[in-house]
């Protein structure tokens, strides 16, 4: 070594992570992994709100967030990262302000744009984890293709009215990709979005906070991941199910790509 390594943490930063560091499954090494981690979060809406808030609070070092939407009044019933005084502001800028207020030691990269095929590869590159918190299946599939190509794990959550689902897509490590599990996009009108169908305000909190927990687990190596497991949660009837899901060897997205992987 010809020069000193830059310190990992800013002066005075470590005490805020004390409750993580005492956890056996995270500890000092796990907290350092969070600090060194770089994640991409697609969507700063209902699911993105708790994911962003908890990952920034947890001390994830670098957080990129992409969304092209602006904060509107009908968002505030569930998108708790935004606020009345930021109505009309780009959601990624509103999120940046909220995150800076929670943890100024996180490097937040706000990207005010819609994810497209041309940009997805560049955004996914170099990330330790990609998080799908978007609101439409076309973008979900586009992001899935980029993650499969780059061999990145994709933590994906989705909600509808009173229900949510989440899993960790990762064909490079034995789990299915989105297209293995849901190869067909539903016909128009079958799966209405939140604006058309409504959504219970706390639901993205339940699913999004679970996504944040799974992200922390994945980045630190704690516990058992959601690879190969789809969680379905019905908040109206209090039903939860875990479905074992597997790769489709004939999947048009990942079928030939990772055939030799573990």
């Amino acid at each position: 070594m010809t020069q000193m390594m830059a310190p990992l943490y800013a002066e005075g930063e470590v005490p805020r992570y004390a409750r993580h560091i005492v956890l056996r499954e995270i500890g000092g090494p796990g907290q350092a992994r969070l600090k060194r981690a770089s994640v991409l979060i697609v969507g700063a809406g209902g699911l993105g709100s708790p994911v962003l808030l908890y990952l920034a609070a947890a001390g994830v070092g670098r957080i990129s967030v992409i969304d092209d939407d602006r904060v509107s009044e009908s968002n505030l019933q569930r998108q708790v990262i935004h606020s009345q005084d930021r109505l009309g502001m780009a959601k990624v800028q509103s999120a940046r302000i909220a995150l800076a207020g929670i943890n100024p030691h996180v490097a937040v990269e706000p990207i005010e744009s819609r994810l497209d095929a041309a940009g997805a590869a560049g955004l996914v590159a170099g990330k330790d984890l990609v998080i799908d918190a978007t609101d439409n299946l076309a973008t979900r599939h586009l992001l899935n293709r980029a993650c499969v190509a780059a061999r990145k794990p994709l933590l994906s959550g989705a909600i509808s009215q009173w229900e949510g689902q989440l899993t960790l897509y990762d064909p490079a490590r034995g789990a299915p990709c989105l297209c293995c599990l849901f190869p067909q996009i539903p016909a128009e009108g079958l799966a209405p979005d939140c604006a058309a169908a409504g959504v219970m305000g706390a639901l993205p909190g339940i699913i999004g906070a679970t996504m944040a927990a799974e992200a922390i687990k994945e980045l630190t190596g704690a516990g058992r991941s959601l690879r190969g497991r789809l969680l379905l949660h019905d908040a109206l009837w209090g039903e939860s199910r875990e479905i074992a899901v597997m790769r489709n060897p004939a999947c048009p997205v990942c079928g030939g790509t990772h055939g030799d992987s573990e």
Partner: protein
């Protein structure tokens, strides 16, 4: 005849208006079960009208619509959710 617990998620539950029901059936495959269920009511028929994006799990393991029921106790139908 076998007694099965049937679970519905997202728009299937929305259309059938219940999250679960118990049925007695002689169906041998998921596809036959769907035919029987669809004949039960207009709500069921509407829920199963477009199966292209619907997935099924037998005893909490992903399966194909063509799969044999083969002694399964629980059949769950779920589509992809979109919202975020």
């Amino acid at each position: 005849m076998a007694t099965l617990d049937i679970l519905y998620f997202a728009w299937l539950r929305e259309r059938i208006a219940t999250p679960r029901e118990t049925v007695d059936t002689a169906a041998q495959t998921v596809a036959e079960l769907i035919q029987e269920l669809s004949a039960q009511s207009e709500r069921h028929a509407a829920a199963f009208a477009d199966l292209a994006s619907v997935r099924v799990a037998l005893d909490q393991v992903l399966a194909d619509i063509a799969a044999p029921l083969a002694g399964a106790r629980e059949v769950a139908f779920f589509p992809p959710m979109t919202g975020g």
